[in-house]
């Protein structure tokens, strides 16, 4: 698992209070991890803070799963 993926997973576990095993690449924040729309806004903010990237609202809407988040952040960082 990449460094970014590790850190994303840690943030998700912390913010949503879910078990680490559930935070798989395909896990959907809302459908699988019990987040609501406000939780996802907060998650995106936490990603921005942790990785020093800006995630515009239209991009944030496409980030539905753990894998989506990792992919977006890696694309910005590279």
């Amino acid at each position: 698992m990449s460094n970014v993926a590790e850190q994303v997973k840690k943030i998700v576990v912390e913010h949503l209070g879910v078990e680490a095993e559930k935070v798989t690449e395909t896990a959907s924040f809302i459908d699988d991890l019990g987040a609501d729309s406000l939780d996802t806004v907060e998650l995106v903010m936490a990603f921005e803070e942790a990785f020093g990237v800006e995630i515009p609202d239209d991009a944030a809407e496409t980030i539905q799963t753990v894998g989506d988040a990792v992919k977006f952040i890696e694309s910005k960082a590279s």
Partner: protein, 411 residues
């Protein structure tokens, strides 16, 4: 109830009767530059021995989203509903059960912290939970969702009269048929640097007892110099009498009177002639079909401010007339401090327990009364007496007043 004397109504009451004070030196934030360095803070711990453990009431990840006044309200509402054994399951029961929890200030700490965050990191760092975690009516909102109470979902904001207004208004809603059961009361978490600075600037808080915190709240005593800020929540279940009787609920007392008035005088000072408090008690008595001669015990607003205590005492004395001699009146703020928006609610509970146990709680630290009075202010020791009717006063900034009258059931 969550009070500076413990998590739970019975433990708080027991400690009041023992003459304990909840006032302590503030240790959890910097007080060096504050005039007041003391407060009545909730004893935190692992939940044993009357301590309050927020994790017992709300998951840590949820607590991050809200200010403490909401967690206190959830804890107190859970206790009240458990004690009342009311767990609505049918649609009908859910729709006929409502919530009316107020707060004087709401999420002080979170607003202060977020203002700093906004300045330092900009608007994109403001949490989506900032607004729903600070709004005053979200205490009601959270309790409504948690217990599926789908009737009236309401709130009150009337400074230090909030708790009394919430319970009085809830009783009205029940009496008018809007609900059969209302979960009602007040909650407050004002103890932070901003809260103390603000009330210090109003010259409202005690400043002279930083080294003897347990002596600072001393209503009616000649050495009093302001109130001691408290925190916590008081919540009761207000229920239609026939509804409660039919399901065999434990009934503590009946709400027989509720009066409201405005001073129309000054934003923080009470009207010097006590006119607002007088008319408010008068209105509650009229509603109850009583005179002050029918009231055995008064739980005073009595905050320990130089001005307010004597004005309230004067209003009670004038309203009592010839009955003043037989009256018993004490201030439980001497023990728990001033819980602001939760004050009238925790004092409702203390008044009702005074009726149940036949005992008037003491006004602790009342060593030298500042004025002579025929009214028994119950200095320092509780007083065993039959209490059939109790009246509780709450007066708030903005000149807002509320009085509630409780009566022993079948008395």
């Amino acid at each position: 109830m969550v009070s500076p004397l413990g998590c739970g109504a019975e433990i708080s009451w027991q400690r009041i009767l023992e003459g304990q004070s909840g006032s302590r030196r503030v240790e959890n934030f910097e007080t060096d530059d504050l005039q007041t360095k003391i407060a009545c803070q909730i004893p935190r711990g692992d939940g044993t021995d009357g301590t309050y453990n927020p994790n017992d009431w709300m998951e840590p990840k949820e607590q991050r989203k809200v200010d403490e006044f909401i967690v206190y309200a959830i804890a107190a509402a859970d206790q009240a509903l458990e004690d009342a054994n009311w767990k609505p399951e049918s649609d009908e029961d859910k729709n006929r059960s409502g919530v009316l929890i107020g707060s004087g200030i709401g999420g002080f700490q979170g607003i202060a912290d977020t203002a700093i965050l906004l300045k330092e990191k900009g608007p994109r760092r403001v949490s989506p939970f900032f607004i729903p975690g600070r709004l005053i009516n979200l205490a009601s909102g959270y309790v409504s969702i948690r217990h599926q109470l789908k009737g009236p979902n309401h709130s009150v904001v009337t400074a230090c009269s909030t708790g009394a207004h919430a319970i009085g208004d809830a009783a009205r809603l029940v009496a008018l048929g809007d609900a059969d059961v209302m979960v009602a009361g007040g909650t407050e978490s004002p103890i932070c640097r901003l809260g103390i600075s603000g009330f210090n600037a109003c010259r409202a808080l005690s400043t002279g007892f930083n080294d003897e915190p347990e002596k600072a709240s001393r209503p009616y005593d000649k050495d009093r110099d302001g109130f001691v800020m408290g925190e916590g929540a008081g919540i009761v279940v207000v229920e239609d009498y026939e509804h409660a009787k039919a399901r065999g609920a434990k009934i503590y007392a009946e709400i027989v009177g509720y009066g409201l008035s405005g001073d129309a005088y000054h934003i923080t000072a009470p009207a010097s002639d006590g006119d607002g408090g007088y008319r408010c008690m008068e209105a509650a008595l009229k509603r109850a079909g009583m005179t002050l001669g029918d009231v055995d015990y008064i739980n005073a607003h009595g905050t320990s401010t130089p001005l307010g205590d004597e004005i309230e005492l004067g209003a009670v004395t004038r309203l009592a007339g010839e009955h003043a001699k037989g009256l018993t009146m004490s201030s439980t703020k001497s023990s728990v401090g001033h819980l602001l928006g939760a004050a009238g609610a925790v004092e409702t509970i203390f008044s009702v327990l005074a009726i149940r146990d036949g005992i008037a709680p003491p006004t602790i630290n009342l060593d030298n009364p500042s004025v002579e009075t025929e009214i028994d202010l119950v200095p320092n020791k509780p007083k065993k007496m039959e209490i059939n009717v109790a009246l509780s006063n709450s007066f708030g900034f903005g000149g807002t007043n509320a009085s509630l009258i409780f009566k022993k059931v079948d008395a």
